[in-house]
Amino acid sequence: MYSELHCHSAFSFLDGTTLPERLVLEAIDLGHSALALTDHNGVYGSMAFAQAAKDLGLQAITGAEVTLLDGSHVTLLAEAPVGYANLCRLITEAHLGREDRRDPRLDFASLEARHEGLIVLSGCRTGLLPVVLQREGLTATCRFAERCRAVFGKDHFFVELQRNAVQGDLSLTRTLADIADGVGLSLVATGDVHYHRREGHRLYDALVAIRNRTTLDGSHGVRKPNSEFHLKPPAVVEALFRDRPDAIANTQLIAERCRTFDLTKDLGYTFPNFRGSERQTAPQALTELCRVKLEELYPPDSSYRHEAERRLEEELRLVDHHGLCGFFLVYNDLFELAREVGMDVRRGTRRASANLLPGRGRGSSVSSIICYFLGLSHIDPVSNQLFLGRFLNETLASVPDIDLDFPREIREELIRRVYQHYGEEHTGLVCTFPTYRLRSAVRELGKALDLPVGELEQVAKLAEHRSAAALREELQKLPGFAGKVNAPLWRDLCDLAAEIAGLPRHVSQHVGGMIISSRPLVELVPLERSAMPDRVVCQWDKDSCDDARFIKIDFLALGMLSAVEECVELVAEKEGEPPDLSRIDFEDAQVYDQICAGDTVGLFQIESRGQIQMIRRTRPRDLHDLAVEVAIVRPGPIVGGAVNPYVRRREAERHARERGLPYEPPVDHPLLREALEETLGVIIYQDQVLQVCQALAGFTAGQAEALRRAMSRRRSRELMEGFWEEFLEGARARSVSDTTARKVFEQVVAFSQFGFPKSHAAAFGLLAYQSAWLRYYHPVEYYTALFNNQPMGFYSLDALGRDAARHGVDIRLPDVNRSNVYCTVEEGDLRIGLGFIRDCGWEVAEETVAERERNGSYRSLGDLVRRAPPRLSRNAIENLVWVGGCDGLGLTRRELLWQVGLWLPPKAEQPHPARVRRQLELPLVHPYEQLRFGGVTSDERLVAEYDVLGFSASGHPFSMIRDTLPPRVLRSDRLEELDHEEHVEVAGLVVARQRPETANGYTFILMEDEAGMINAIVRPDVYERDRVAIRGEPFLWVLGTLAKDDGTVNIIAKHVRPLKLRKSNGARPERTARGGYRREKLIAALPNSSAADSPGAGAHSPYKFLKQLRRNAPSAKSWG
């Protein structure tokens, strides 16, 4: 019977349309017993394919179609483990040996040298033999076939025949068959599958157009001519080759031979040995290490000593039971390496003595006392009562995850050191596969269909961020597009988007996952270069690595840790010594007062709009409360319905305490009391999911472990739903009603969405507090560090800058003679660095500052042009001038801009810019240098700041247009004075838009005016009606009713419109005879400005100002 040995999945990236798991299903439906996956230059989907095939009883053959140097293809199948190892090495060579990482190619000589255990097929229509036949003719092809036979052997090289109803197939396959017969080689039939069903050819054609960056019309020459490249029933292919039954029989023969290798069990991965393994066994070494730390951290008089000893004993037993002692010791080695890196990076800095850890644990590993002892966690698991079972338990089915956060700088260096320490062949980063979502699908497929780019952009901008499968539904809701869903091409776009949804687009780098292997990793999975220089990724994502039982080490870069490092350094500069963040007062009432007031913008993890609202009601007063705060605004607790009950109970608890009464939170069943006591009867942490299943349904450790794994996988909801029967059965056995069981199970399944283990929340809660403490006591240092470590968090620099101002930190604009490259603290203010200027760049800023430090301040604009690096472009200098960077040179900005033009003519007029600069070595005095101009107006300055820096340091735009806003628009600080349900009109610059999937269609808009933030909540019907404004406008006007509840103030929006200014208003900006506005009126309203600041400058109307700002306003952050 025929077996398909040449099949591409979507992991051939734009040359296949079907996910491996779907191919397995189709193969089984069609009656295949074996199927080979042969993606281009990779085995990206092979593990998922092998796992799916194993589950469903199909034989998975692992292979790849490799591109040779001349562009021809060869199909390689792994017959034996050594063949698979060779396949991985060959693919790696094809990727790493090339300058262009996107064009992997293999030298045929390498294949000749390393083919043991591989079965080589001669390839498709652009395969080895057809290419020689086409280029060099029959005789040369025969000679080449003989060479292949001599090199690979008759049993390991097959001449591949493909018949896909392409004109010329018959004669080509007959010629190839004749050649094979002539030189004594065997034939094999293959299908060159690129999609699982015939209908898939449309998407395939579109992918080919996308791959070739053209349209469907423009890709005639490169598209396949028909729809015959789908997986066919064996009988159909057998009929196609009835003249060569041997070609069919050989497919079966090869499939049988490939049974020797099973990717799911024959990999032979082992973790490296720990340092000192030759002297001690792993259990001895680990016990010894932990005992020493036990004495240090829990001395005999510690109240936690007994519990710590018990936990250590239990953990050591579990770790030994699972054979993981060596694993922990290797982590210990890695953390030692991190300590060395930390010391090296901080050497010579003031923070070197700050007792800063090189990194911090996150995730469930923080609950382990062994991790605490090895330094992999910084949270005491005993005093914090952290539950171990999520991390380590009796029936652990896979190696536990230990995630570590590092400041960016340390992480970069640590990754390099790990490569050096374990060897390049033994180390690789885990990859990820970004998939097609609605926006990418619309843009790419739309271009292939040659739809108008402007309309595609409009759809991409206005549509929700969601699955591409929902495009049709989205279009129906978009103004101007509803009628197009059935129009030609748009209809195709909708159909294709539904098909492309979820398909991988390209290979990317996982945020931090790294694999190290005792056996060369390059024999277990191919490696390839990442887009980042010097980075090598393996071809499997985290799920495939997990299936391969690889141990993934997560080194994550956490921006806030970098900011904290820098802040500590700045504080040390100010005070002479750095603060020790492990010894600050963790119960500082003033810090908590600020947090409880919702003043948390710029703080780690508790700054979002949702968090601020939550925090005002829950009022955290210690680290435990902060851990809850960090964990609660997550999809798991939200979907599980935990949030509102928690908030209400927290309020009830507080009121009871104020009255001196006890408070006992309700629980769905008494059996849950212990597990949910600390979170007031609701599930907030992932660990509680397991505890609840154990308490209510009597889950064994094994069941809990299976549930834990299901929780963290793709399609976790389906997998978790699969536990319902056993949950119900267990609950019934404990006399729990079916209704209660279902209610609780719904909360359990909600954690198929993202949630935090308590240990992770505790670790992040601690960092949240430390960030709050730093901001409270050292605001200017904190904001400076925050500015220098963007992007991170919820807010734009614009919003962060104004928050800094609210905390008394003045922001000074860049100054060519005062600014450094990055932001600095200057006389208690924050000075913006030169690197923040558009078109300047960090390196050029560095050179500009270095020149100033070498040879003194820049004395004039001509001096700057002469001495600054030639790479400091005219645009960059103009930008610098526009934001006041050269104000200190004694001229107005317009005069300075005039001089830029004198010294540096526009690019089009200067064929050799470097020569222009060199000519300035002469101390020229330009004849027009002395011309005088007025300054720029305040509104021009503000627009320039947005344009050049992306944020404004001179105040909020509304401070300039308040007088021209619609008459009833209220300032945000007035809202507190009004009553619940009052009708209000507000307006603001949009800071963030959120439309979380968990919010049932509600949208949250965070706006800012000159007095503060405004929260608007938009109902689904209002959203649909006003979507264009909500998604696209930077300045909004909102009409709605006030919703006030225990410290939170929201506006329930009834209408959301683009902001429009009033035409006139009595004494406020008056029209001049020419129709403009008197600028004196406008300028007078500006902070720190007067009309005299800018003599001679033209008046600008508020309309023009708003129009310019609409173009330059910082993009609102869009979440969900």
Binding site: V166, Q167, R202, P225, N226, E228, P488, L489
Partner: protein
């Protein structure tokens, strides 16, 4: 084979192939056959698979 008002017998089918194209505009779905006619002469025929109509390909 019916050519005009006369019938011709096909001696041999040389090759058959298929075209699927322009599905985003006016779909072209054709099954082509190159045949040798009785008494000599090659012709290419195709069936429009959408309309279920046979045609003779003009040279």
């Amino acid at each position: 084979m019916d050519e005009g008002d006369g019938k011709r017998t096909i001696d041999e089918i040389i090759e058959a192939w298929r075209i699927d194209d322009e599905w985003w505009r006016e779909p072209i779905i054709r099954q082509y056959v190159e045949v040798v006619l009785e008494g000599g002469g090659h012709v290419v025929l195709f069936e429009d698979l959408s309309a279920k109509q046979w045609y003779l390909q003009r040279p």
